[in-house]
C-alpha cells in the first residue's frame, strides 16, 4: 500500500547558499531498505519538480540508517539574497515527507 514518508520517516533540512540538504531516517529499522530502494535521487528530483533547478545527489549513512539528499539550486541566489519567504529552505524537509512510497503487504 502507498504511504506518505511522513508516516514512516523523519528528517531535517539545512542550507549552504543555494544548496539545500534534506536528511531522511526511518522510524523503524526495517524500513531503511525500502527508503534506499524507492527514495532515489531521481525520485526526489521528480518529487520537487521546478523547486530544484539543479541536480539531486544522495548519500547513504547506514550506520545511523540515514539518507542525505543534496538539492542543487533551490533558492534564487543563495540564502541572503533569495526573495523566497523561507530564504533558507529550512521547511523543505516537510516537502520530502510528502512523497509517497509503496510498502509491501500493507504492513507497518
Amino acid at each position: 500500500m502507498k504511504r506518505k514518508l511522513h508516516e514512516i520517516a523523519h528528517g531535517r533540512a539545512g542550507d549552504k547558499g543555494d544548496i539545500t540538504n534534506v536528511s531522511l531516517f526511518p522510524y523503524r529499522p526495517e524500513h531503511y531498505a525500502l527508503l534506499r530502494e524507492q527514495v532515489t535521487a531521481a525520485a526526489v528530483k521528480a518529487h520537487f519538480g521546478d523547486m530544484v533547478r539543479g541536480e539531486v545527489l544522495r548519500y547513504e549513512v547506514p550506520s545511523i540508517r540515514g539518507l542525505n539528499f543534496v538539492l542543487h539550486g533551490t533558492r534564487s541566489g543563495g540564502v541572503s539574497s533569495a526573495p523566497d519567504l523561507d530564504a533558507h529552505g529550512k521547511s523543505l524537509s516537510f516537502g520530502l515527507l510528502e512523497m509517497e512510497i509503496e510498502i509491501p503487504g500493507g504492513e507497518g
Binding site: 523523519h10 531516517f25 549513512v61 541572503s80
Partner: protein
C-alpha cells in the same frame, strides 16, 4: 588522561537565548562554554557598524552574554570561547574588560584572536569568486567584508596562555569546540582521526538546541517534553575522541538517537568529506548508542588530511529586497489572492520591473512547498499574498510593497492586513585563500 572533558554550547546563532547558557554555567559541571554567534551575514553587518564607530562591530548581545557568564569564569574557572568578536575582536575585548571591571569579577585573562579579516588581501589579489568566477577585487565597494574561516589552531595560543575568555571573529563553527579538546587532551594537529572525531562532536553541539529537541518536534509524531525550557547541549569528550551528547538534568527537550541523527547530517553534503579548516571529517560510519536519560554515545567518526586552502566568506551588497503582503479570507480567498498577485505583477511590469524577477507566493498555500503543496493539500480559508523582489534600486524595491498595499482600495474584495518593507540585501559569496596568506594574532588583556 582518562578523565572526560565537558563542553557546553551556550548559543547556536547570533540571537539565541541566554538563560540556557546560564543554566549550563550554573549546573552543567562544564569546563568550557562555547558560543557560536556568527551567521554568514552577521559579520558583514558588523563591518558596517565598525566603519561607523571603531568601538563597535562585535557581535550582537555581547554585553548581555558576558554579563551572564563572566562571574562563572572568574569564580569557577569556566572558559568561554566565542566568535562574538565578529568584525572587531579587539573592540569585543575592550567591552568585555569593561564589563569584568564593572562586575568586579577579580583577575581575569581575556584574549582576542584576529587575522580572519582578509578584505585587503582579497582586494589586492587575483582570487576569483567561487560562484561566479569574477575576480573578487572587481566587486569594488560592493564588497563589505571578507573573512577567512579560521580553525582550532588559531584559538590554541589563547587557551595555552590561560585565557578564561577567548573572543574571535570568523572561525569554523565546530572549531570553537574542537580547540578545547585539542588543548586539554594534547591532541596532535595532524592526528586526523582524533580531529575528525572531535569535529563530529563539535558539529553536533554547534547549533545548540538543535540536538536537544529544538527544530525537531512534530506533535503526535515526534514529541519533545517541555520544549519551552529546552536545555542546551553538553558533550562529554573522551581522550580518544568518542563522546556522549547530553544536557542538564531537569531542563526541557530530549537527547536521543533521532535528535542526534538529524543534527549529524544537518547542513552536510557528502557525509564522508565534511571540510573544516582543521580536518576533512568523515561521518559516514558514525555510530550512535542511546544510553538512556538523554545521553547518546557517539563513536567511529573519522578524518583525513585538512584542506590546503581556507574558505573565505564574502559579504556583498546586492541591492534591496522589496516585500509586500496582504490577506484574503473565506470562500474564494485563494482566487482573490491569485487575482491580487496578477494585478501587482502587471503594475510592477509597467513600472519597469520584469515579471520573472518577482516572486509571487501565497502564504498558507504554496509559499513554502510550491507545487508539492498545491498537489497535496486542500485550498485554505486564509490566503496571504506575498510579493517580493530583489532589485538594485531602492525606490524600485519600495514599489513592490506599495503596489501590494494599494490593493486595499484597488484590488479584490476583502483585502486586509497589508504589510510592506524594503531593506538592503547582503549576499554571501565564497573565495579561497592559501593558508600562508592568512596570519592570525592574539591580543591578551587582564581584568584587574
Amino acid at each position: 588522561m582518562t578523565k572526560t572533558l565537558r563542553i557546553g554550547c551556550g548559543a547556536g546563532y547570533a540571537g539565541d537565548r541566554i538563560d540556557p547558557a546560564v543554566t549550563l554555567a550554573e549546573r552543567g559541571n562544564i569546563r568550557y562554554l562555547c558560543f557560536e554567534c556568527l551567521a554568514e551575514r552577521t559579520i558583514a553587518i558588523a563591518q558596517l557598524e565598525k566603519a561607523a564607530d571603531p568601538g563597535k562591530g562585535y557581535g550582537p548581545f555581547l554585553e548581555e552574554r558576558m554579563e551572564a557568564v563572566l562571574p562563572f569564569c572568574a569564580r569557577d574557572g569556566l572558559v568561554v570561547v566565542t566568535n562574538l568578536g565578529a568584525a572587531n575582536p579587539p573592540a569585543a575585548l575592550e567591552k568585555t574588560l569593561e564589563i569584568a571591571r564593572r562586575l568586579g569579577t577579580g583577575p581575569l585573562r581575556i584574549g582576542a584572536v584576529t587575522g580572519d579579516d582578509v578584505l585587503e588581501t582579497v582586494l589586492a589579489g587575483n582570487d576569483p569568486v567561487a560562484e561566479t568566477g569574477v575576480p573578487v577585487r572587481d566587486l569594488g565597494d560592493r564588497l563589505l567584508s571578507a573573512n577567512a574561516y579560521l580553525g582550532a589552531e588559531a584559538i590554541l595560543p589563547a587557551l595555552r596562555a590561560g585565557c578564561r575568555v577567548v573572543l574571535t571573529g570568523r572561525v569554523a563553527d565546530p572549531s570553537l569546540f574542537l580547540a578545547p579538546m585539542i588543548h586539554e587532551f594534547r591532541w596532535d594537529l595532524r592526528d586526523w582521526r582524533l580531529l575528525g572525531a572531535g569535529t563530529a562532536l563539535g558539529h553536533l553541539l554547534e547549533c545548540a538546541a538543535q540536538v536537544t529537541g529544538g527544530f525537531f518536534a512534530d506533535p503526535g509524531v515526534k514529541d519533545v517534553p517541555r520544549l519551552e525550557d529546552v536545555g542546551f547541549p553538553i558533550a562529554e569528550v573522551s581522550p580518544d575522541g568518542d563522546g556522549v551528547i547530553t544536557k542538564v538534568p531537569g531542563t526541557g527537550g530530549r537527547v536521543d538517537l533521532r535528535t542526534c541523527r538529524e543534527q549529524m547530517l544537518y547542513e552536510i553534503h557528502d557525509p564522508s568529506a565534511y571540510l573544516t579548516p582543521d580536518v576533512t571529517a568523515d561521518f559516514s560510519a558514525v555510530v550512535m548508542e542511546d544510553l538512556g536519560r538523554d545521553r547518546v554515545r557517539i563513536s567511529h567518526a573519522a578524518g583525513r588530511a585538512r584542506p590546503e586552502s581556507l574558505k573565505v566568506s564574502l559579504g556583498v551588497r546586492e541591492g534591496f529586497l522589496g516585500e509586500g503582503e496582504i490577506s484574503f479570507a473565506g470562500r474564494g480567498a485563494l482566487e482573490r489572492a491569485r487575482m491580487a498577485g496578477e494585478i501587482v505583477l502587471w503594475r510592477l511590469e509597467r513600472a519597469g520591473i520584469p515579471r520573472d524577477s518577482v516572486k509571487v507566493e501565497i502564504i498558507g498555500y504554496n509559499a513554502l512547498l510550491g507545487p508539492i503543496a498545491e498537489r497535496e493539500f486542500p485550498v485554505p480559508s486564509d490566503a496571504r499574498l506575498r510579493v517580493a523582489a530583489r532589485l538594485d534600486d531602492r525606490r524600485q524595491a519600495e514599489r513592490v510593497g506599495e503596489e501590494v498595499e494599494a490593493l486595499y482600495l484597488n484590488g479584490p474584495a476583502g483585502a486586509g492586513g497589508a504589510r510592506k518593507s524594503a531593506r538592503p540585501v547582503i549576499a554571501v559569496y565564497t573565495t579561497f585563500l592559501p593558508r600562508e596568506r592568512v596570519r592570525t594574532e592574539l591580543t591578551i588583556r587582564e581584568a584587574p
